[in-house]
């Protein structure tokens, strides 16, 4: 009896996800200890975040996909309402309005959207599965655009782009026609000058600094210069754990959060970086396989989009730290210090696991 219960409890924990995930988390804690200046407090704090995140993941993994299908739309609507709340009563911090006070604490509704967006769009396409028309994609585009524009307004361009990407992945996987995609690409290309004209000065500055970090060595370029020095000086095999000079001499900013990968790259070198890439790839391939074999359209789309989103985060962060992408505030999944992002990421893994275990239970 108890054994069966335990079996059911552990059934959704997919080993092909768990193993790379735990290895990545392990890397994260290890490098965090070094990045925080051998301060155990931050590691303990992160372990606490991790405990919460794993419990959340587990619970989500146990929820039947059918149930997720039902709550997708309400979650999306709540997300929109919260974003409107932010726009109206949000708390301004660092020049942007991103936080909302609700009774006890404050929340960042854009974080919720990271999951709500793929769920909502997948739900929509799932409902329209047998009668999909061209204009369904238009409606989907509106579903996508509303929260994205609200987040652009905050302004939080980085998050808005990433959420837009997660929604776009659903559209793409749902069969958005390639011709339309091409047209869209041309449209985006054409609208770049327009985007430039509505950007905030600091956003423009970030793009200019990306092209030439030396232009602004005290400001935006400083991060990129220091992180590439850290990576580059790491060499093939790195300087060894807790021996990164760039890190330990305080050159590297935000070294426990968005720029933690520079610490990792300095201390573990190219070898360490490639191991990290392989771990991410293993996780992502598993996610894509879950999408490939999922039992229904909703599962396929959600699994595919969440996996691609996870990849996007990792790619954007590592690209930013190594200086091929602009500095947008994106944490490195599993590695960066911070509770919110960790919970979001593990919840999406929970959803993946749920989809996979549902398939096992009810074969189609």
């Amino acid at each position: 009896m108890i054994r069966r219960l335990l079996e059911r409890l552990f059934a959704p924990l997919d080993m092909a996800i768990m193993v790379p995930m735990l290895l990545l988390l392990g890397c994260g804690l290890m490098v965090l200890y070094s990045a925080a200046g051998e301060d155990a407090d931050k590691v303990i704090d992160q372990l606490r975040n991790l405990a919460v995140a794993i419990i959340a993941m587990w619970i989500i993994a146990l929820i039947p996909t059918q149930y997720l299908l039902q709550v997708a739309a309400p979650i999306y609507v709540i997300g929109i309402l919260l974003l409107l709340g932010v726009a109206l009563f949000g708390e301004v911090s660092h020049g942007a309005r991103r936080w909302l006070h609700i009774g006890v604490g404050r929340i960042q509704p854009s974080e919720l959207m990271k999951i709500a967006m793929p769920l909502m769009l997948a739900w929509y396409f799932h409902r329209r599965e047998s009668s999909l028309r061209f204009w369904d994609f238009l409606i989907a585009a509106v579903i996508l655009a509303v929260p994205v524009l609200l987040i652009v307004k905050q302004p939080d361009l980085g998050t808005a782009l990433l959420i837009a990407a997660s929604g776009f992945y659903v559209l793409f996987l749902a069969g958005l026609s390639l011709r339309l995609l091409l047209g869209l690409g041309v449209l985006v290309g054409a609208s770049l000058p327009l985007a430039w004209s509505v950007m905030h000065d600091y956003q423009r500055q970030r793009i200019l600094t990306l092209l030439d970090p030396a232009q602004d060595p005290l400001g935006a370029g400083y991060h990129t210069i220091q992180s590439t020095i850290a990576l580059g000086s790491g060499g093939l095999s790195g300087k060894g754990w807790m021996n990164g000079t760039q890190t330990h001499l305080d050159f590297l900013p935000e070294r426990t959060t968005d720029f933690i990968f520079a610490v990792y790259g300095e201390e573990f070198g190219l070898v360490g970086n490639l191991i990290l890439l392989i771990l991410y790839f293993a996780l992502i391939v598993r996610g894509m396989m879950i999408a490939y074999g999922a039992g229904n359209l909703f599962g396929r789309l959600v699994a595919g989009a969440l996996t691609l989103t996870l990849f996007t985060y990792a790619f954007v962060n590592m690209g930013m730290v190594s200086g091929i992408l602009p500095v947008v505030g994106v944490p490195l999944p599993f590695v960066s210090y911070g509770g919110t992002a960790l919970v979001t990421i593990l919840i999406s893994l929970g959803i993946l696991m749920g989809i996979q275990s549902q398939k096992k239970l009810v074969p189609t």
């Binding site: 660092h94 793409f172 996987l173 602004d216 060595p217 000086s233 790259g265 894509m288």
Partner: protein, 631 residues
């Protein structure tokens, strides 16, 4: 149909799986890009970065720009910088701070005041690792510390630039001061994306022109790439981008005139603003009493702060821009223009003043200041002798909303738009305003008293001077300003700021002429300011005013003498000169000064005498002599 739907789904599924494969390939390519980027950085360019990071660690040191100067219109310095040695402590490298300071005080004179200030700095600013304990060290102190340096790890002497306000209290409200950047400033700088430019800056403008023109004055921070050794000391400069010094502000203020006006106030509290009606230049902006901005630069100590902050005289409050007072009878020339404009009065209209005014259907008497009344009064006489009854009736006929509309044209109830922050707009009531503010209807009696500048109407001395300048400038309005030009620190080029002339209202020339004529008569025998104007070799226009002080602040009731003094009426005066072609317009108030003609107008007279004749008041010459003898 079902078959089609099914095969549709089959097509969809295979399409989906195709796209999954496509995604995996794209992901592989992108991971390849990352891997090759890592290879490029960590293998191909490794030596380059290794050199940067390991052997010679590179550091970027900000080079702080010189802050721009603030000069009066004649080039007299009101704010400048000087370099001085500062004793600085890095608390994180000192084990026992109190003990270290105790030992330091044996070789450098550290007062309890310095200690308190240091303590306050530590609490206020978390950003700085290094904090000054004592600035402006003497040569002897520098030498003594240098000999003992080894005993004080974490303590060092550095040459720093300091802000200095050579005029001290004079014009302190206009110039303002800079202060150390605190956490709140830091947040704001970050929000405005200005933080990189303040890397290395310890100070920024906190109030006055120093705050409002911060962006001009601060300049652009330069930076130096230096090699540092393992201990963090700079070995060699690799490259340097010079800082760009802040630009100099050239004020419209005439410092000499300002100081004459300040001294003319004597012990009185109050404010005076003088504007050139032809240009909008603010020639003087007095707020008495003032404060010494030099105390604020490196963090004010508690003693001075308490003295300033707790004083009933409120020396930190800029009365010229932020003090609001009922305009009293100084509103009458503007009311007279309204009466003419709306056709309610003609130059010849005469009313009979029995000494009071009553609204029809009411027995309440609104008293004229002169019991028994002025008898027959026409428009000119109403200004000259300041007849209240005339304006009670006029206000009643105009109605509050028309008064509101007309007086707005002179800038009452609005910000003048002066180039210093924190100006207040005073209040110009209307029916709609009262409904909004108090959710009450407007009573006719309130219109009546508004006619003589009492009731809800509140003005700042700046507004009063600005409005007077519009009369003096024949209806032309120019935004008043303290800064008339900005001097580029690099090229020395002086760029004047252009202030457009506006015609806010089609005042009729003959109406303006009539009212100006009446204002000139105010300063001539028979007028309310005749005594103050006696013997002036030039003709000038003026209007006296008196505002009742109704409420009393708490805490003052214990001192009978103070209470009485602070219960006295405020004395107001507006003036312009010379009468035919004005080059100066004044709005002023003397708090608890009694009547405008007896305390305010004589101060204005001294200002006009200096401005037009270059005459320094006899009392101030005496004072200067005494000071010289003491030297």
């Amino acid at each position: 149909m079902a078959g089609t739907a099914f095969s549709d789904q089959q097509v969809q599924l295979s399409n989906f799986r195709l796209r999954i494969w496509f995604c995996i390939i794209v992901i592989l390519v992108m991971l390849g890009i990352l891997a090759s980027r890592f290879y490029f950085l960590q293998v191909i360019q490794h030596d380059h970065f290794h050199t940067l990071a390991e052997n010679n660690r590179m550091s970027i040191v900000p080079v702080v720009p010189n802050r721009g100067l603030i000069l009066d219109r004649a080039g007299l310095v009101m704010a400048n910088n000087f370099s001085a040695y500062t004793l600085e402590i890095n608390p994180s490298k000192v084990d026992d701070l109190d003990e270290t300071i105790d030992r330091l005080s044996a070789i450098v004179d550290i007062t309890p005041r310095d200690r308190k200030r240091f303590k306050k700095l530590r609490e206020d600013s978390h950003r700085f690792e290094i904090l000054p304990i004592k600035s402006r060290l003497t040569e002897v102190e520098v030498a003594r510390f240098a000999a003992n340096r080894f005993r004080f790890p974490g303590v060092d002497i550095n040459a720093r630039l300091f802000r200095n306000y050579p005029q001290g209290v004079s014009a302190s409200h206009v110039v303002g001061y800079i202060g150390r950047i605190n956490d709140k400033d830091l947040e704001k700088l970050e929000a405005d994306e200005k933080l990189p430019n303040y890397r290395g800056s310890n100070h920024l403008g906190k109030i006055g022109l120093e705050e409002s023109f911060e962006d001009e004055l601060h300049g652009r921070t330069g930076f130096e790439q230096v090699e540092i050794d393992a201990g963090g000391r700079a070995i060699r400069s690799l490259s340097r981008e010079e800082p760009v010094a802040g630009n100099n502000l050239i004020l419209s203020l005439d410092l000499k005139l300002q100081q004459i006006a300040e001294k003319a106030f004597g012990q009185y509290r109050g404010a005076l603003v003088a504007i050139d009606p032809k240009t909008g230049d603010v020639l003087a902006s007095v707020s008495q009493p003032g404060f010494d901005p030099n105390y604020f630069v490196d963090g004010i100590d508690q003693v001075h702060w308490d003295a300033y902050n707790n004083s009933v005289d409120k020396p930190l409050n800029n009365r010229a821009l932020r003090g609001v007072y009922p305009p009293g009878s100084t509103i009458k020339p503007f009311m007279a223009l309204a009466g003419l404009y709306y056709g309610k009065r003609s130059p010849a209209t005469t009313i009979f003043d029995p000494g009071y005014f009553t609204l029809s259907g009411s027995s309440h008497q609104y008293r004229c200041w002169k019991s028994g009344g002025h008898g027959a009064v026409d428009l000119k006489k109403s200004v000259v002798i300041s007849c209240d009854t005339y304006y009670y009736g006029l206000a009643n006929e105009l109605g509050i909303d028309r008064m509101h509309e007309f007086l707005s044209k002179f800038g009452f109830g609005q910000l003048t738009g002066i180039d210093v922050k924190d100006e207040v707009s005073g209040n110009l009531p209307s029916k709609e305003w009262k409904k909004r503010r108090f959710k009450q209807v407007w009573y006719p009696g309130e219109t009546v008293i508004s006619g003589i500048g009492q009731g809800y109407t509140l003005v700042t001395p700046m507004q009063l001077a600005h409005a007077t300048a519009i009369i003096a400038g024949n209806g032309i309005s120019i935004r008043p300003h303290f800064v008339k030009a900005i001097q580029n620190s690099q090229t020395g080029e002086i760029k004047s700021i252009d202030f457009p002339k506006e015609q806010p209202f089609p005042f009729k020339a003959e109406d303006l002429a009539l009212v100006r004529d009446a204002m000139v008569a105010v300063t001539q025998p028979g007028g309310t300011a005749a005594r103050a104007a006696a013997g002036a070799p030039y003709a000038f226009g003026g209007k006296t005013g008196t505002a009742q002080v109704k409420s009393m602040k708490q805490g003052e009731k214990y001192n009978e003498k103070t209470v009485e003094e602070r219960y006295r009426d405020h004395a107001l005066f507006i003036a312009y000169a010379p009468a035919n072609d004005p080059t100066i317009a004044i709005g002023m108030i003397v708090e608890n000064g009694g009547h405008g003609g007896s305390t305010a107008a004589p101060i204005a007279r001294q200002v006009l005498d200096y401005h037009l004749l270059g005459k320094i008041p006899a009392a101030q010459i005496e004072e200067a002599k005494v000071e010289e003898e003491h030297d």
